[in-house]
Structures are given as C-alpha cells and as structure tokens.
C-alpha cells in the first residue's frame, strides 16, 4: 500500500472503540462443571452441555458474577440489579449448542470509565459502554489437516467478560495504553491472567477516520485477531492508513469485519456487511434471572485489592515519587504489593523505590524468580534501608556486600549480617581522624597542591582513607574531617 504523506494523515482524526474479551480465572466453566484450564490435551475438558448434547441444562457459576462485580466496581460502572441471559444464535463448528449464552439487553455493568495517558502524557478518560458476561467458543484449527478443520472444545463454555469501550480513543498511544490498563486491571483484580499470546485476553478494534473538526464519525470497520498489545496498535495504524487512502482517492469505507495478519501487518476482509450475522437474540429460557442485592456488592467491595490507579496517585502525591517510578512500581501487582509492605516499614520511600526497581528487580530478572519467592522479606529490606540511613553502612557496602548475604541467609537481619561480617562503618571521630592524618601524611606534595587550590585532590585522599580503613570509614564523616584537616 502507498504510504500517505504526513500532511495528508494529519488531515484526519482517528476514532477507535475497543472490545476486550477476558477469560475468567475460574476453576470450572460458566454454565457447567467441566474444567476451565488452558493447555490441557484437546477435548479433555468437556461435558455433555459443552458438547451440546440434548437434554442438558446450564447451571450458572456463582464466581462469574462476583468477578464481573469486581471489574464493574473497579471501572466505576453502574451495576445492573436484575438481569437475564440471552441466546445469541449462530451456526459454527466451535459452538456445538448452536448459540452462545450471553447478556444482551441487561449487561451486568454499564457506564464506567478508565483513565489512561494520551500521547502527551495527560490523563484521558475513556468511557466504558458496558461489560457483560458470556461464554467462549471452542477453538478451530484450520492448518493441520488439508481436508478438515479440527475442533477442540476445551475452551467452549469458558466464562468471558466482554468489556466494550466508548469510541473515545483518538490515537494509537491511547489505544495501546487503554488496553494495557485493562490488562493490568484484570490482573490486579485476579479475574483474568491477561495473557494475550495464549488468548486469555483478546481485543477487537472498531476503527474509523473523519476529517479533523468533523462531528460525524466515518463508517467503521471491526478488526479482529490481534494477539499482543503491539499488534493491536499495528492493526489500528494499518487500518487507519487504509481508510485514509481510500477516502483520499474519492472512495468510501464499507462497513465490514476485517482480520489482522501479523506477518504482513495488514488487514483483510473477513465478512462484509451483507454477510453480517443475524444473531436472532432471545431470552435464554434455561437460566433463571439474576438479582443482585446490596449485600452481594458489599461482599465483593470489601475484598477488593488496591487498584493500580489508586496506588499511582498515592505514590506520586503522598510518597513524593516521580511519575516514572510510580509507573514502574505499579506495573505488576505482586511488585506493587511488595513495595506497599516495604513502605509500611520504612519512611524512606525514595530509597525503598530504588531498591525495588534496582537491586531487587535485577535479582528477580537474573534468577527468573517471582517476587513472591524473593528471599528477603519487606521488613528485612526496611532494616537494610534503616542501617544505611543511620550511616552504619554505606550504600555501596549495602549493595555489594550486605544485600547479597541477605539473599543467601533469608531471615537474618541486615544489621546482624553487617555486624558479624565486620562491615559496620566506623563513625568514631578519633579513629577517623587518625586514618585521615595517615592518609595525608602519605602525600605531602599533594596536600600542598590542594592548599594551592587543586580541590579535585580530595578524591585521592578519600580513596586512601577507604583503602586504609578497609572501606569501613563513614565517607560523609571522613570527608568532613579531611576538609577540616586540610583547612588547618
């Protein structure tokens, strides 16, 4: 495809709405008691209901409602108090029942919002139209057998949350950040593992363009089959350029469903508007309606984990951390929870953040360990920070000697280690003065040079003190004493 010039692309405004499907982390399926598990042998997690056998009746999984309430609360949605389920009818091999049980007119959540950063780093509100409960279909494999499509029904009936955004997204960055935020949110809420490669989090994008300043949206295309955050961004970018190219050449956009090809980075038609499904929704007679009481919502509310945005605001506003630090810390929930506990035991938040983002993260990366298995408890880390703050050890002794020994000896406090390894910094005035005098005596000519104005030589004297003291001299005190001696 011909790349449009920047000034042509700049004439148009991108408009995107995203539909996210999140597989719920339940043990069993939405409407039957067969196992919900990724990676099992094909067709080993099924039941007569999942296979669409006659005479079966669905029974609704309680957990699925609680998970839906969680995300509803986290996105500030209105929770629907009386709901029923609907059948969405279509004929396809991965859906043996011939219909998907979903929510049509009474989605459990409506009218919420999520805040994401726009391309200028400003907060941008993205509206959530609705979130509803439904079930996944099985998996069709088209490329393993030349004559048949192979079907695996393990995934059929896995509970899904479909999260539909308003068409509020105006740039590729916002689309990426919105999806990243939704993924982070479902992970924080423990309702979905957010693994896009395995398909437990999937995204369809409704993409249109209009001239800047226009008030009416252009015709939109729905793009499917993007299996990573990056690919969602690539697919939207390609689709935007494709539509602009058509409009610039006097064409018009046909409303259709398109698929993204990750290898070529392009989209192609899956079905046109004429082929659009006629789903013939009607109320599901086999599932009784649901009624949510205040108490159901309260119970879920009480068990809610901290949310990434709350933590971000706390870290930047109350703990005085930079936006960058706050973002790194909240990115993964287990890291954030570790940091939370650490800051409950130290007031030196900046040092706590630096340890978590620096030494701790690099240890986790190098050893491929998760923070849950990190050998040093937050209280012990706080102890390490405390003895640095008390000038008992220097930063470099802490990172190079005490921290590694703490990793090897879980449960031993930083102070015990520093004491037994003889690493405590010497802050004894007389002792330090003695060493400083020795150090200066070793370089009489340099002392003269210093006194003549070469102040850069202070580093040399400090090095000598460190050498003579086995690196145990308190550097702050030593440099003060040095200065004093040299001024004499």
């Amino acid at each position: 495809m011909i790349e449009e010039r920047k000034e042509i692309l700049d004439k148009y405004q991108l408009v995107v709405g995203l539909e996210v499907h999140a597989q719920q982390l339940t043990k069993s399926k939405a409407y039957a008691g067969d196992k919900n598990e990724y990676g099992s042998l094909p067709n080993s997690n099924t039941s007569p209901l999942t296979l669409g056998h006659p005479g079966t009746l669905p029974r609704f999984n309680r957990k699925v409602v609680d998970y839906a309430i969680r995300i509803g609360l986290a996105t500030g949605c209105e929770l629907t108090r009386e709901m029923n389920f609907a059948r969405k009818n279509y004929f396809y091999a991965d859906l043996p029942k011939g219909y998907q049980i979903t929510q049509d007119t009474t989605p459990i959540c409506t009218g919420g919002e999520v805040y994401v950063k726009d391309e200028n780093g400003q907060d941008k509100r993205i509206g959530i139209t609705r979130i509803h409960i439904e079930e996944d279909a099985g998996k069709s494999i088209h490329d393993q057998d030349p004559y048949n499509t192979l079907v695996d029904l393990n995934r059929a009936g896995v509970p899904l949350l479909e999260i539909v955004s308003e068409p509020d997204i105006r740039s590729l960055e916002e689309a990426y950040n919105y999806l990243a935020e939704i993924r982070r949110l479902v992970r924080y809420l423990d309702i979905c593992d957010g693994n896009m490669e395995e398909g437990s989090l999937r995204c369809d994008a409704n993409v249109s363009v209009m001239l800047k300043g226009a008030t009416e949206f252009g015709n939109r295309c729905e793009v499917k089959n993007m299996n990573s955050l990056r690919n969602v961004q690539r697919a939207i970018e390609h689709e935007m350029k494709r539509q602009i190219h058509i409009l610039e050449n006097g064409g018009k956009i046909d409303q259709e469903t398109r698929s993204f090809d990750a290898i070529t980075g392009t989209t192609f038609t899956l079905r046109s508007k004429e082929d659009a499904h006629d789903y013939r929704y009607f109320p599901e007679p086999d599932l009784q309606p649901l009624v949510l009481h205040d108490q159901d919502i309260e119970t879920v509310k009480k068990a809610m984990p901290p949310l990434p945005r709350e933590l971000y605001n706390k870290y930047t506003e109350k703990l005085g951390l930079s936006e960058y630090d706050a973002n790194v810390l909240i990115d993964s929930k287990p890291i954030a929870l570790y940091f939370e506990e650490l800051t409950a035991h130290t007031k030196n938040y900046k040092a706590a953040a630096n340890w978590v983002m620096g030494e701790i993260k690099s240890y986790l990366n190098q050893t491929a360990t998760s923070i849950e298995k990190f050998p040093i408890k937050p209280t012990e880390m706080a102890g390490l920070i405390a003895i640095i703050d008390e000038d008992l050890i220097s930063n470099s002794i802490a990172t190079q000697q005490v921290f590694p020994k703490m990793l090897e000896n879980p449960g031993r406090s930083a102070k015990e280690i520093a004491e037994s390894e003889n690493l405590l910094q010497q802050s004894d005035d007389t002792w330090l003065k003695g060493i400083a005098e020795e150090a200066l005596a070793a370089f009489p000519d340099k002392v003269q040079a210093y006194k003549n104005g070469n102040k850069g030589l202070l580093g040399l004297f400090m090095g000598e003190i460190m050498k003579k003291s086995d690196r145990k001299a308190n550097p702050k005190m030593a440099s003060e004493i040095l200065r004093k001696l040299l001024e004499e």
């Binding site: 339940t26 043990k27 069993s28 039957a32 008691g33 067969d34 196992k35 042998l41 094909p42 067709n43 080993s44 997690n45 099924t46 039941s47 007569p48 296979l51 056998h53 029974r59 609704f60 999984n61 309680r62 957990k63 699925v64 409602v65 029923n84 009818n89 279509y90 004929f91 396809y92 091999a93 991965d94 859906l95 998907q100 279909a137 069709s140 494999i141 088209h142 057998d145 004559y147 048949n148 499509t149 192979l150 079907v151 695996d152 029904l153 698929s259 899956l270 079905r271 082929d275 006629d278 013939r280 109320p283 007679p285 599932l287 009784q288 309606p289 649901l290 009624v291």
Partner: protein, 98 residues
C-alpha cells in the same frame, strides 16, 4: 411478513440447510400457516403487560465454582461423525465464525 423464496433462502442460509424447489414450496405453505397462527395471538392487546420470560419465579440459581464433571477425550469424541484421537473433524471452513 412476505413469505417468498428470498425469505426461505435466508432462513436456510442461517440454519446451514439446503432445500430443493419442491421442498421450498412445502416450507412456504407451512410457514404461512405458522405465521397466521402467531398473527391470531397478536390480536390480543398486550399494552402495558410485562413480557413473561420465566414461568418459574426462582432467581439466583447458582452453582459453586467447582469441577464436578469432565468427560475424557474418548468419551467426548465417540458420538462425533468424524474425529481422530484428539479432535473433532468438520468440513474445512475457510473464514467466518467467531
């Protein structure tokens, strides 16, 4: 509703069935009878009446989130017209579906 070939074609497409000309004619006359029957019901004034979706007044019929049943692979596949040891086999579908 106008019961013509177009409607029958659309319905057969939705249900993935194929009919011959003669069958189509029979379906058409059956369908007209069914629609007439429903039309008779539509004469009743239902203004202001909530639709009755469920005959049974029960709500919140839940099941705990536990694995209570699972068919093994062999059991799951045994009634399928075509399968191998792992998968159901169906005619090749090139595109479409969800």
């Amino acid at each position: 509703m106008n019961v013509d070939d177009k409607l029958i074609d659309r319905l057969s497409n939705l249900s993935k069935l194929e009919f011959g000309t003669e069958e189509k004619e029979r379906i058409k006359s059956d369908l007209v009878k069914m629609l007439d029957f429903v039309a008779a019901l539509q004469e009743v004034d239902t203004d202001g009446v909530e639709p009755l979706i469920y005959v049974n007044p029960e709500v919140n019929v839940y099941r705990a989130d536990e694995v209570t049943e699972s068919l093994d692979q062999k059991e799951a596949l045994k009634n399928a017209p075509d399968h191998d040891s792992f998968y159901f086999k169906v005619p090749k579908v090139v595109s479409g579906g969800e």
